[in-house]
Protein backbone atom coordinates (compact mmCIF):
# COMPACT_ATOMS: atom_id res chain seq x y z
CA UNK A 1 0.00 0.00 0.00
CA UNK A 2 2.83 2.35 0.87
CA UNK A 3 6.19 1.71 -0.63
CA UNK A 4 9.11 3.94 0.20
CA UNK A 5 12.25 3.21 -1.76
CA UNK A 6 15.70 4.60 -1.01
CA UNK A 7 14.34 7.86 0.31
CA UNK A 8 16.83 10.39 1.58
CA UNK A 9 16.16 13.87 2.82
CA UNK A 10 18.76 16.51 3.52
CA UNK A 11 17.84 19.87 4.99
CA UNK A 12 20.04 22.80 4.11
CA UNK A 13 23.29 22.53 2.25
CA UNK A 14 27.00 22.75 2.78
CA UNK A 15 28.28 22.62 6.32
CA UNK A 16 24.86 23.31 7.84
CA UNK A 17 23.21 20.35 6.13
CA UNK A 18 21.23 17.87 8.22
CA UNK A 19 20.49 14.44 6.83
CA UNK A 20 17.08 13.63 8.31
CA UNK A 21 16.55 10.46 6.26
CA UNK A 22 19.32 8.31 4.94
CA UNK A 23 18.35 5.76 2.28
CA UNK A 24 15.14 4.65 3.93
CA UNK A 25 13.09 1.86 2.37
CA UNK A 26 9.85 0.75 3.91
CA UNK A 27 6.84 -1.29 2.87
CA UNK A 28 3.44 -1.06 4.49
CA UNK A 29 0.99 -3.77 3.52
CA UNK A 30 -2.68 -3.07 2.80
CA UNK A 31 -4.83 -3.10 5.93
CA UNK A 32 -2.07 -3.24 8.49
CA UNK A 33 -1.06 -0.87 11.24
CA UNK A 34 2.59 -0.10 10.83
CA UNK A 35 4.46 1.69 13.59
CA UNK A 36 7.68 3.61 13.17
CA UNK A 37 9.47 4.09 16.44
CA UNK A 38 12.48 6.19 17.21
CA UNK A 39 13.77 8.85 19.50
CA UNK A 40 13.23 12.55 19.06
CA UNK A 41 15.17 13.82 16.08
CA UNK A 42 15.45 10.37 14.49
CA UNK A 43 13.64 11.61 11.39
CA UNK A 44 10.21 10.13 12.08
CA UNK A 45 8.23 13.23 11.18
CA UNK A 46 10.28 13.78 8.07
CA UNK A 47 9.58 10.18 7.07
CA UNK A 48 5.81 10.32 7.54
CA UNK A 49 5.62 13.73 5.86
CA UNK A 50 7.41 12.23 2.90
CA UNK A 51 4.55 9.77 2.46
CA UNK A 52 2.13 12.50 1.36
CA UNK A 53 4.95 14.69 0.11
CA UNK A 54 4.42 17.45 2.62
CA UNK A 55 8.17 17.03 2.65
CA UNK A 56 9.63 16.23 -0.74
CA UNK A 57 12.50 13.74 -0.46
CA UNK A 58 15.88 14.78 -1.81
CA UNK A 59 16.02 11.40 -3.55
CA UNK A 60 14.09 8.16 -3.71
CA UNK A 61 10.53 7.28 -4.58
CA UNK A 62 7.26 7.15 -2.67
CA UNK A 63 4.48 4.97 -4.06
CA UNK A 64 1.05 4.99 -2.46
CA UNK A 65 -1.69 2.66 -3.64
CA UNK A 66 -0.01 2.25 -6.99
CA UNK A 67 0.63 5.95 -7.63
CA UNK A 68 4.23 7.03 -7.64
CA UNK A 69 3.64 10.34 -5.84
CA UNK A 70 7.11 11.64 -6.55
CA UNK A 71 6.22 11.75 -10.26
CA UNK A 72 2.85 13.53 -9.98
CA UNK A 73 2.11 17.11 -10.97
CA UNK A 74 0.95 19.46 -8.18
CA UNK A 75 -2.70 19.00 -9.23
CA UNK A 76 -2.43 15.24 -9.41
CA UNK A 77 -0.69 15.23 -6.06
CA UNK A 78 -3.58 17.14 -4.48
CA UNK A 79 -6.03 14.54 -5.69
CA UNK A 80 -3.76 11.71 -4.56
CA UNK A 81 -3.53 13.27 -1.10
CA UNK A 82 -7.26 12.80 -0.61
CA UNK A 83 -6.56 9.09 -0.33
CA UNK A 84 -4.17 9.80 2.55
CA UNK A 85 -5.61 11.19 5.78
CA UNK A 86 -3.24 12.63 8.33
CA UNK A 87 -3.48 13.32 12.07
CA UNK A 88 -1.07 15.45 13.98
CA UNK A 89 0.46 15.60 17.45
CA UNK A 90 -0.97 19.05 18.11
CA UNK A 91 -4.28 18.31 16.36
CA UNK A 92 -3.98 21.32 14.01
CA UNK A 93 -7.68 22.12 14.18
CA UNK A 94 -9.08 25.43 12.97
CA UNK A 95 -9.91 27.39 16.12
CA UNK A 96 -12.62 29.32 14.31
CA UNK A 97 -14.62 26.26 13.32
CA UNK A 98 -16.64 23.88 15.42
CA UNK A 99 -15.88 20.18 15.53
CA UNK A 100 -18.35 19.71 12.70
CA UNK A 101 -16.88 22.68 10.81
CA UNK A 102 -13.44 21.14 11.02
CA UNK A 103 -14.68 17.84 9.63
CA UNK A 104 -16.55 19.72 6.91
CA UNK A 105 -13.29 21.39 5.88
CA UNK A 106 -12.11 18.03 4.62
CA UNK A 107 -15.38 17.56 2.73
CA UNK A 108 -15.34 21.11 1.31
CA UNK A 109 -11.90 20.52 -0.12
CA UNK A 110 -13.08 17.36 -1.79
CA UNK A 111 -16.12 19.26 -3.10
CA UNK A 112 -18.96 17.72 -1.08
CA UNK A 113 -21.66 20.35 -0.63
CA UNK A 114 -24.87 21.20 1.18
CA UNK A 115 -26.94 18.67 3.06
CA UNK A 116 -24.69 15.79 2.02
CA UNK A 117 -21.74 17.54 3.66
CA UNK A 118 -23.63 18.06 6.91
CA UNK A 119 -24.86 14.48 6.91
CA UNK A 120 -21.41 13.01 6.24
CA UNK A 121 -19.68 15.18 8.83
CA UNK A 122 -22.14 14.18 11.55
CA UNK A 123 -21.84 10.55 10.53
CA UNK A 124 -18.05 10.66 10.85
CA UNK A 125 -18.25 12.49 14.17
CA UNK A 126 -20.53 9.70 15.38
CA UNK A 127 -18.02 7.14 14.20
CA UNK A 128 -15.25 8.73 16.30
CA UNK A 129 -17.59 9.01 19.28
CA UNK A 130 -18.12 12.76 19.18
CA UNK A 131 -21.68 12.92 17.88
CA UNK A 132 -22.70 15.07 20.84
CA UNK A 133 -19.87 17.59 20.42
CA UNK A 134 -20.54 18.65 16.83
CA UNK A 135 -21.19 22.27 17.83
CA UNK A 136 -18.23 22.67 20.17
CA UNK A 137 -15.19 24.74 19.25
CA UNK A 138 -11.73 23.17 19.71
CA UNK A 139 -11.09 25.46 22.70
CA UNK A 140 -14.02 23.76 24.41
CA UNK A 141 -12.74 20.22 23.86
CA UNK A 142 -10.26 18.09 25.78
CA UNK A 143 -7.09 16.83 24.12
CA UNK A 144 -8.59 13.42 23.43
CA UNK A 145 -11.72 14.97 21.96
CA UNK A 146 -9.62 17.27 19.77
CA UNK A 147 -7.71 14.30 18.44
CA UNK A 148 -11.00 12.57 17.68
CA UNK A 149 -11.98 15.60 15.63
CA UNK A 150 -8.56 15.42 13.95
CA UNK A 151 -9.18 11.78 13.07
CA UNK A 152 -12.71 12.57 11.84
CA UNK A 153 -11.35 15.32 9.61
CA UNK A 154 -8.72 12.97 8.22
CA UNK A 155 -11.47 10.46 7.42
CA UNK A 156 -13.66 13.01 5.64
CA UNK A 157 -12.36 12.31 2.16
CA UNK A 158 -12.75 8.54 2.52
CA UNK A 159 -9.02 7.89 2.55
CA UNK A 160 -7.42 4.48 2.20
CA UNK A 161 -4.49 5.40 4.38
CA UNK A 162 -4.19 7.14 7.71
CA UNK A 163 -0.91 8.77 8.68
CA UNK A 164 -0.45 9.59 12.32
CA UNK A 165 2.48 11.67 13.53
CA UNK A 166 2.71 11.24 17.30
CA UNK A 167 -1.06 11.55 17.50
CA UNK A 168 -1.12 10.46 21.11
CA UNK A 169 2.07 12.10 22.37
CA UNK A 170 0.27 15.11 23.78
CA UNK A 171 -2.28 12.94 25.60
CA UNK A 172 -2.34 11.23 28.98
CA UNK A 173 -1.97 7.42 29.08
CA UNK A 174 -5.68 6.71 29.45
CA UNK A 175 -6.66 9.00 26.59
CA UNK A 176 -3.81 7.55 24.55
CA UNK A 177 -5.33 4.10 24.95
CA UNK A 178 -8.78 5.26 23.93
CA UNK A 179 -7.41 7.01 20.83
CA UNK A 180 -5.36 3.95 19.90
CA UNK A 181 -8.45 1.79 20.30
CA UNK A 182 -10.26 4.16 17.96
CA UNK A 183 -7.44 3.87 15.43
CA UNK A 184 -7.68 0.10 15.68
CA UNK A 185 -11.46 0.23 15.23
CA UNK A 186 -11.11 2.37 12.12
CA UNK A 187 -8.42 0.06 10.82
CA UNK A 188 -10.73 -2.92 11.20
CA UNK A 189 -14.09 -1.34 10.31
CA UNK A 190 -12.98 0.76 7.35
CA UNK A 191 -10.06 -1.41 6.28
CA UNK A 192 -7.74 1.56 6.51
CA UNK A 193 -4.00 1.10 6.29
CA UNK A 194 -2.36 3.00 9.11
CA UNK A 195 1.19 4.31 9.31
CA UNK A 196 1.88 5.71 12.71
CA UNK A 197 4.87 7.39 14.20
CA UNK A 198 5.63 7.23 17.88
CA UNK A 199 8.39 7.36 20.41
CA UNK A 200 6.45 5.13 22.81
CA UNK A 201 6.84 1.36 22.74
CA UNK A 202 3.43 1.00 24.36
CA UNK A 203 1.79 2.41 21.24
CA UNK A 204 3.51 -0.19 19.08
CA UNK A 205 2.57 -2.95 21.51
CA UNK A 206 -1.05 -1.95 21.65
CA UNK A 207 -1.99 -1.60 18.01
CA UNK A 208 0.78 -2.35 15.54
CA UNK A 209 0.98 -5.37 13.28
CA UNK A 210 4.39 -4.36 12.00
CA UNK A 211 7.04 -1.93 13.08
CA UNK A 212 10.25 -0.29 12.05
CA UNK A 213 12.90 1.28 14.18
CA UNK A 214 14.41 4.52 13.00
CA UNK A 215 17.66 5.92 14.31
CA UNK A 216 19.62 8.85 12.92
CA UNK A 217 17.56 8.73 9.74
CA UNK A 218 18.16 5.03 9.10
CA UNK A 219 15.91 2.04 9.50
CA UNK A 220 17.54 -0.41 11.87
CA UNK A 221 14.92 -3.13 11.76
CA UNK A 222 11.54 -3.62 10.24
CA UNK A 223 9.02 -6.38 9.90
CA UNK A 224 5.93 -7.83 11.48
CA UNK A 225 6.02 -7.75 15.27
CA UNK A 226 5.88 -11.54 15.40
CA UNK A 227 8.85 -11.91 13.08
CA UNK A 228 10.79 -9.23 14.93
CA UNK A 229 10.19 -11.05 18.18
CA UNK A 230 11.62 -14.22 16.79
CA UNK A 231 14.67 -12.46 15.38
CA UNK A 232 17.72 -13.10 17.55
CA UNK A 233 19.16 -9.89 18.96
CA UNK A 234 16.26 -7.73 17.76
CA UNK A 235 16.43 -4.41 19.55
CA UNK A 236 12.75 -3.82 18.98
CA UNK A 237 11.90 -7.12 20.62
CA UNK A 238 14.09 -6.27 23.60
CA UNK A 239 12.48 -2.87 23.91
CA UNK A 240 8.98 -4.22 23.47
CA UNK A 241 9.54 -6.59 26.38
CA UNK A 242 12.01 -4.91 28.65
CA UNK A 243 13.17 -7.28 31.38
CA UNK A 244 15.55 -4.90 33.04
CA UNK A 245 19.14 -5.62 33.99
CA UNK A 246 20.48 -9.13 34.23
CA UNK A 247 21.46 -9.75 37.84
CA UNK A 248 24.87 -11.42 38.14
CA UNK A 249 24.64 -14.91 39.61
CA UNK A 250 28.05 -16.46 39.70
CA UNK A 251 28.25 -19.78 37.99
CA UNK A 252 24.66 -19.90 36.72
CA UNK A 253 23.26 -19.49 33.24
CA UNK A 254 20.74 -16.80 32.39
CA UNK A 255 18.65 -17.38 29.30
CA UNK A 256 15.87 -15.49 27.67
CA UNK A 257 13.12 -17.33 25.90
CA UNK A 258 11.00 -15.49 23.39
CA UNK A 259 7.53 -16.85 22.87
CA UNK A 260 5.35 -16.01 19.99
CA UNK A 261 2.18 -17.44 18.62
CA UNK A 262 1.27 -20.83 20.03
CA UNK A 263 4.33 -21.45 22.17
CA UNK A 264 3.24 -18.95 24.78
CA UNK A 265 0.84 -21.26 26.50
CA UNK A 266 3.10 -24.31 26.65
CA UNK A 267 4.34 -25.22 30.11
CA UNK A 268 8.01 -24.79 29.19
CA UNK A 269 9.35 -24.23 32.66
CA UNK A 270 7.55 -27.18 34.14
CA UNK A 271 8.94 -29.34 31.34
CA UNK A 272 12.49 -28.21 32.08
CA UNK A 273 12.07 -29.02 35.72
CA UNK A 274 10.52 -32.39 34.99
CA UNK A 275 12.72 -33.60 32.15
CA UNK A 276 16.08 -32.35 33.42
CA UNK A 277 15.45 -32.02 37.12
CA UNK A 278 16.51 -28.39 36.88
CA UNK A 279 15.86 -25.90 39.60
CA UNK A 280 14.67 -23.10 37.32
CA UNK A 281 14.10 -19.65 38.71
CA UNK A 282 12.17 -17.00 36.84
CA UNK A 283 14.03 -13.68 36.82
CA UNK A 284 11.57 -11.77 34.73
CA UNK A 285 8.75 -12.16 32.31
CA UNK A 286 6.72 -9.99 30.03
CA UNK A 287 3.79 -11.31 28.11
CA UNK A 288 1.59 -9.23 25.87
CA UNK A 289 -1.10 -9.81 23.36
CA UNK A 290 0.12 -8.37 20.11
CA UNK A 291 -2.11 -8.45 17.09
CA UNK A 292 -4.40 -10.88 18.92
CA UNK A 293 -1.59 -13.35 19.59
CA UNK A 294 0.26 -13.92 22.79
CA UNK A 295 3.90 -13.04 22.68
CA UNK A 296 6.53 -12.35 25.24
CA UNK A 297 9.83 -13.09 26.80
CA UNK A 298 10.87 -14.88 29.96
CA UNK A 299 14.27 -14.67 31.60
CA UNK A 300 15.24 -17.81 33.42
CA UNK A 301 18.16 -18.73 35.56
CA UNK A 302 19.46 -22.26 35.24
CA UNK A 303 21.97 -23.67 37.70
CA UNK A 304 25.39 -24.37 36.22
CA UNK A 305 27.35 -22.96 33.28
CA UNK A 306 25.99 -22.65 29.75
CA UNK A 307 28.03 -25.69 28.79
CA UNK A 308 26.37 -27.74 31.51
CA UNK A 309 22.98 -26.55 30.28
CA UNK A 310 23.62 -27.28 26.61
CA UNK A 311 21.15 -30.16 26.48
CA UNK A 312 18.08 -28.37 27.92
CA UNK A 313 18.82 -25.28 25.78
CA UNK A 314 19.04 -27.40 22.67
CA UNK A 315 15.78 -29.05 23.66
CA UNK A 316 14.04 -25.69 23.98
CA UNK A 317 15.38 -24.59 20.61
CA UNK A 318 14.22 -27.88 19.21
CA UNK A 319 10.69 -26.93 20.25
CA UNK A 320 10.94 -23.85 18.05
CA UNK A 321 11.56 -21.40 20.85
CA UNK A 322 13.98 -18.55 20.47
CA UNK A 323 16.53 -18.96 23.25
CA UNK A 324 19.28 -16.47 23.92
CA UNK A 325 21.99 -16.93 26.48
CA UNK A 326 22.24 -13.48 27.94
CA UNK A 327 24.55 -14.05 30.85
CA UNK A 328 26.66 -16.72 32.45
CA UNK A 329 26.74 -15.03 35.78
CA UNK A 330 30.24 -13.63 35.48
CA UNK A 331 29.57 -11.35 32.54
CA UNK A 332 27.25 -8.46 33.12
CA UNK A 333 25.30 -8.31 29.93
CA UNK A 334 22.75 -5.57 29.78
CA UNK A 335 19.94 -5.38 27.31
CA UNK A 336 19.99 -2.40 24.99
CA UNK A 337 16.99 -0.98 26.73
CA UNK A 338 18.32 -0.02 30.09
CA UNK A 339 15.06 1.78 30.69
CA UNK A 340 12.87 0.93 33.64
CA UNK A 341 12.46 -2.70 34.53
CA UNK A 342 8.83 -2.48 33.56
CA UNK A 343 7.23 -5.87 33.28
CA UNK A 344 10.14 -7.61 34.94
CA UNK A 345 9.65 -10.07 37.76
CA UNK A 346 6.08 -10.67 36.80
Amino acid sequence: MISIKHVSKTFGSGTGATTALDDVSLDVARGEIFGVIGQSGAGKSTLIRAVNLLERPTSGTVTVDGDELTLLSPDQLRVARRKIGMVFQHFNLLAGRTAQGNVELGLEIVGVTGAERRRRSLEILDLVGLGDKAGAYPAELSGGQKQRVGIARALAGNPKILLSDEATSALDPETTRSILDLVKTINVQLGLTVLLITHEMDVVKRVCDSAAMLEHGRILEQGSIVSLISTPGSRLAHELFPLGEVPPHAGNTVIEITFSGGSADRPVIAQLARNYGLDVSILGAAVETIGGKQAGRTRLELPGSPVANAAPIADLRGQGLLVEIVGDGAASWTPSSSSSAEGAHA
Binding site: N92, L93, L94, A95, G96, E108, Y137, A139
Partner: protein, 247 residues
Protein backbone atom coordinates in the same frame (compact mmCIF):
# COMPACT_ATOMS: atom_id res chain seq x y z
CA UNK B 1 -15.05 85.85 12.54
CA UNK B 2 -18.31 83.99 13.09
CA UNK B 3 -20.78 85.34 15.59
CA UNK B 4 -22.15 82.55 17.81
CA UNK B 5 -25.03 84.79 18.92
CA UNK B 6 -26.34 85.16 15.37
CA UNK B 7 -29.85 83.64 14.98
CA UNK B 8 -28.79 81.15 12.30
CA UNK B 9 -25.47 80.15 13.96
CA UNK B 10 -26.60 76.84 15.38
CA UNK B 11 -28.52 75.72 12.33
CA UNK B 12 -25.54 76.76 10.18
CA UNK B 13 -23.17 74.85 12.41
CA UNK B 14 -25.41 71.80 12.27
CA UNK B 15 -25.58 72.03 8.48
CA UNK B 16 -21.80 72.37 8.10
CA UNK B 17 -21.11 69.49 10.47
CA UNK B 18 -23.66 67.26 8.76
CA UNK B 19 -22.11 67.84 5.34
CA UNK B 20 -18.58 67.51 6.78
CA UNK B 21 -19.40 64.24 8.55
CA UNK B 22 -21.03 62.90 5.41
CA UNK B 23 -17.98 63.74 3.33
CA UNK B 24 -15.61 62.26 5.88
CA UNK B 25 -17.58 59.02 6.07
CA UNK B 26 -17.70 58.89 2.28
CA UNK B 27 -13.94 59.42 1.84
CA UNK B 28 -13.01 57.08 4.64
CA UNK B 29 -15.55 54.47 3.60
CA UNK B 30 -14.47 54.24 -0.03
CA UNK B 31 -10.78 54.48 0.88
CA UNK B 32 -11.30 51.68 3.39
CA UNK B 33 -13.03 49.52 0.82
CA UNK B 34 -10.13 49.98 -1.60
CA UNK B 35 -7.68 49.35 1.20
CA UNK B 36 -9.23 45.99 2.02
CA UNK B 37 -9.62 45.01 -1.63
CA UNK B 38 -5.97 45.74 -2.42
CA UNK B 39 -4.25 45.52 0.97
CA UNK B 40 -5.57 42.08 1.90
CA UNK B 41 -4.32 40.29 -1.22
CA UNK B 42 -1.13 42.35 -1.09
CA UNK B 43 -0.41 41.25 2.47
CA UNK B 44 -1.19 37.62 1.60
CA UNK B 45 1.10 37.71 -1.42
CA UNK B 46 3.81 39.39 0.67
CA UNK B 47 3.79 36.48 3.14
CA UNK B 48 3.16 33.87 0.46
CA UNK B 49 6.11 34.79 -1.72
CA UNK B 50 8.56 34.50 1.15
CA UNK B 51 10.85 31.49 1.22
CA UNK B 52 8.82 28.38 1.97
CA UNK B 53 5.58 30.32 1.56
CA UNK B 54 2.40 29.29 -0.18
CA UNK B 55 3.32 31.22 -3.35
CA UNK B 56 7.08 30.86 -3.01
CA UNK B 57 7.31 29.62 -6.58
CA UNK B 58 4.45 31.01 -8.71
CA UNK B 59 4.13 29.06 -11.96
CA UNK B 60 6.85 26.81 -10.60
CA UNK B 61 9.44 29.56 -10.58
CA UNK B 62 11.13 30.54 -7.33
CA UNK B 63 13.03 33.47 -8.95
CA UNK B 64 9.66 34.92 -10.00
CA UNK B 65 8.39 34.55 -6.44
CA UNK B 66 11.48 36.26 -5.12
CA UNK B 67 11.12 39.15 -7.58
CA UNK B 68 7.44 39.63 -6.71
CA UNK B 69 8.31 39.62 -3.03
CA UNK B 70 11.12 42.19 -3.43
CA UNK B 71 9.02 44.51 -5.59
CA UNK B 72 6.00 44.45 -3.26
CA UNK B 73 8.25 44.80 -0.26
CA UNK B 74 9.79 47.92 -1.86
CA UNK B 75 6.41 49.44 -2.72
CA UNK B 76 5.05 48.84 0.77
CA UNK B 77 8.14 50.31 2.40
CA UNK B 78 7.98 53.34 0.13
CA UNK B 79 4.30 53.91 0.86
CA UNK B 80 4.92 53.56 4.58
CA UNK B 81 7.91 55.88 4.77
CA UNK B 82 6.85 58.93 2.73
CA UNK B 83 5.13 61.49 4.99
CA UNK B 84 1.47 61.81 4.10
CA UNK B 85 1.54 65.52 3.37
CA UNK B 86 4.27 64.95 0.76
CA UNK B 87 2.58 61.86 -0.63
CA UNK B 88 -0.67 63.79 -1.02
CA UNK B 89 0.97 66.51 -3.06
CA UNK B 90 3.10 64.09 -5.03
CA UNK B 91 0.00 62.12 -5.95
CA UNK B 92 -1.83 65.13 -7.45
CA UNK B 93 -1.03 64.12 -11.07
CA UNK B 94 -2.23 60.57 -10.41
CA UNK B 95 -5.37 61.83 -8.69
CA UNK B 96 -6.09 64.14 -11.65
CA UNK B 97 -5.63 61.22 -13.98
CA UNK B 98 -8.03 58.98 -12.08
CA UNK B 99 -10.66 61.41 -10.78
CA UNK B 100 -10.21 64.35 -13.18
CA UNK B 101 -9.56 66.83 -10.38
CA UNK B 102 -7.54 66.94 -7.19
CA UNK B 103 -10.08 68.98 -5.22
CA UNK B 104 -12.99 67.53 -3.26
CA UNK B 105 -13.67 64.41 -1.26
CA UNK B 106 -13.69 62.01 -4.22
CA UNK B 107 -10.21 63.18 -5.18
CA UNK B 108 -9.11 62.78 -1.55
CA UNK B 109 -9.85 59.06 -1.72
CA UNK B 110 -6.80 58.45 -3.92
CA UNK B 111 -4.09 59.58 -1.48
CA UNK B 112 -6.03 58.07 1.42
CA UNK B 113 -6.13 54.67 -0.22
CA UNK B 114 -2.53 54.92 -1.34
CA UNK B 115 -1.33 55.57 2.19
CA UNK B 116 -3.66 53.06 3.84
CA UNK B 117 -3.02 50.10 1.51
CA UNK B 118 0.63 49.50 2.49
CA UNK B 119 -0.25 50.19 6.11
CA UNK B 120 -2.96 47.55 6.08
CA UNK B 121 -0.87 45.15 4.00
CA UNK B 122 1.69 45.10 6.81
CA UNK B 123 -1.07 44.38 9.33
CA UNK B 124 -2.32 41.54 7.12
CA UNK B 125 1.22 40.22 6.86
CA UNK B 126 1.54 40.13 10.65
CA UNK B 127 -1.89 38.54 11.10
CA UNK B 128 -1.28 35.83 8.48
CA UNK B 129 2.14 35.00 9.89
CA UNK B 130 0.51 34.32 13.23
CA UNK B 131 -1.48 31.44 11.77
CA UNK B 132 0.05 28.16 12.92
CA UNK B 133 1.85 26.52 10.02
CA UNK B 134 0.39 23.21 11.21
CA UNK B 135 -3.03 24.39 10.00
CA UNK B 136 -1.68 24.99 6.51
CA UNK B 137 -0.10 21.57 6.62
CA UNK B 138 -3.38 19.98 7.74
CA UNK B 139 -5.21 21.61 4.82
CA UNK B 140 -2.46 20.52 2.41
CA UNK B 141 -2.74 16.97 3.69
CA UNK B 142 -6.45 17.09 2.85
CA UNK B 143 -5.56 18.04 -0.70
CA UNK B 144 -6.44 21.74 -0.49
CA UNK B 145 -5.50 24.11 -3.29
CA UNK B 146 -3.57 27.25 -2.46
CA UNK B 147 -6.71 29.31 -2.91
CA UNK B 148 -8.58 27.03 -0.52
CA UNK B 149 -5.79 27.41 2.01
CA UNK B 150 -6.06 31.20 1.76
CA UNK B 151 -9.84 31.36 1.87
CA UNK B 152 -10.57 28.55 4.31
CA UNK B 153 -7.57 28.66 6.61
CA UNK B 154 -5.42 31.79 6.50
CA UNK B 155 -8.12 34.48 6.35
CA UNK B 156 -10.70 32.87 8.69
CA UNK B 157 -8.09 31.88 11.26
CA UNK B 158 -6.58 35.38 11.37
CA UNK B 159 -9.93 37.15 11.19
CA UNK B 160 -9.84 38.65 14.69
CA UNK B 161 -6.33 40.01 14.17
CA UNK B 162 -7.31 41.28 10.72
CA UNK B 163 -10.31 43.11 12.15
CA UNK B 164 -8.20 44.77 14.83
CA UNK B 165 -5.63 45.71 12.17
CA UNK B 166 -8.39 47.12 10.05
CA UNK B 167 -9.64 49.19 12.96
CA UNK B 168 -6.15 50.68 13.42
CA UNK B 169 -6.08 51.35 9.69
CA UNK B 170 -9.45 53.15 9.73
CA UNK B 171 -8.32 55.31 12.59
CA UNK B 172 -5.30 56.39 10.61
CA UNK B 173 -7.42 56.95 7.47
CA UNK B 174 -9.68 59.25 9.50
CA UNK B 175 -6.61 61.00 10.80
CA UNK B 176 -5.25 61.48 7.28
CA UNK B 177 -8.69 62.45 5.94
CA UNK B 178 -8.61 65.47 8.23
CA UNK B 179 -5.25 66.40 6.79
CA UNK B 180 -6.66 66.05 3.29
CA UNK B 181 -9.29 68.60 4.32
CA UNK B 182 -6.57 71.22 4.61
CA UNK B 183 -5.85 70.82 0.89
CA UNK B 184 -9.50 71.41 0.08
CA UNK B 185 -10.51 67.80 0.31
CA UNK B 186 -13.74 68.43 2.20
CA UNK B 187 -14.91 66.57 5.27
CA UNK B 188 -14.60 67.44 8.92
CA UNK B 189 -10.95 68.43 8.45
CA UNK B 190 -12.00 71.17 6.09
CA UNK B 191 -14.67 72.36 8.57
CA UNK B 192 -12.02 72.61 11.28
CA UNK B 193 -9.69 74.60 9.03
CA UNK B 194 -12.29 76.87 7.39
CA UNK B 195 -14.39 77.70 10.42
CA UNK B 196 -12.33 76.74 13.44
CA UNK B 197 -8.99 78.09 12.28
CA UNK B 198 -9.55 80.70 9.58
CA UNK B 199 -12.67 82.16 11.16
CA UNK B 200 -11.75 81.61 14.80
CA UNK B 201 -14.89 79.60 15.74
CA UNK B 202 -13.90 77.60 18.79
CA UNK B 203 -17.32 75.99 18.81
CA UNK B 204 -16.75 74.57 15.30
CA UNK B 205 -13.34 73.29 16.33
CA UNK B 206 -14.63 71.59 19.47
CA UNK B 207 -17.60 70.12 17.60
CA UNK B 208 -15.30 68.62 14.95
CA UNK B 209 -13.01 67.13 17.59
CA UNK B 210 -15.97 65.59 19.42
CA UNK B 211 -17.44 64.19 16.20
CA UNK B 212 -14.18 62.61 15.07
CA UNK B 213 -13.66 61.21 18.54
CA UNK B 214 -17.15 59.67 18.49
CA UNK B 215 -16.60 58.16 15.03
CA UNK B 216 -13.30 56.61 16.09
CA UNK B 217 -14.79 55.26 19.31
CA UNK B 218 -17.72 53.67 17.50
CA UNK B 219 -15.42 52.08 14.92
CA UNK B 220 -12.99 50.74 17.49
CA UNK B 221 -15.76 49.48 19.72
CA UNK B 222 -17.33 47.65 16.81
CA UNK B 223 -13.98 46.21 15.76
CA UNK B 224 -13.18 44.97 19.26
CA UNK B 225 -16.60 43.42 19.54
CA UNK B 226 -16.29 41.72 16.14
CA UNK B 227 -12.77 40.52 16.88
CA UNK B 228 -13.93 38.92 20.10
CA UNK B 229 -16.91 37.44 18.32
CA UNK B 230 -14.67 35.71 15.78
CA UNK B 231 -12.06 34.57 18.24
CA UNK B 232 -12.65 31.08 19.55
CA UNK B 233 -9.46 30.65 21.51
CA UNK B 234 -9.62 29.09 24.92
CA UNK B 235 -10.65 31.50 27.63
CA UNK B 236 -8.34 31.30 30.62
CA UNK B 237 -11.21 30.77 33.06
CA UNK B 238 -12.33 27.59 31.35
CA UNK B 239 -10.98 24.30 32.54
CA UNK B 240 -10.31 21.33 30.35
CA UNK B 241 -13.21 19.33 31.64
CA UNK B 242 -15.83 22.08 31.63
CA UNK B 243 -18.96 21.40 29.69
CA UNK B 244 -18.92 23.45 26.50
CA UNK B 245 -21.75 25.79 25.82
CA UNK B 246 -23.15 25.80 22.34
CA UNK B 247 -22.56 29.03 20.47
Amino acid sequence: MIDPTAPDFWSGLFQVLLVGTGETLYMVGIALLLTVLVGLPLGIVLVGTERGGLFAAPFGSRPLGRVINRVLEFIVNLGRSVPFIILMVALIPLTRLIVGTFIGSTAAIVPLAVVAIPFFARMVEIAIKEVDSGLIEAAESLGATRWQIVSKVLVPESLSTLILGLSTTVTSIINFSAMVGTVAGGGLGQVAIQYGYQRYSTIHMVAVIILIFIIVMILQGTATWLARRFSHRARPARTRTSVPTAI
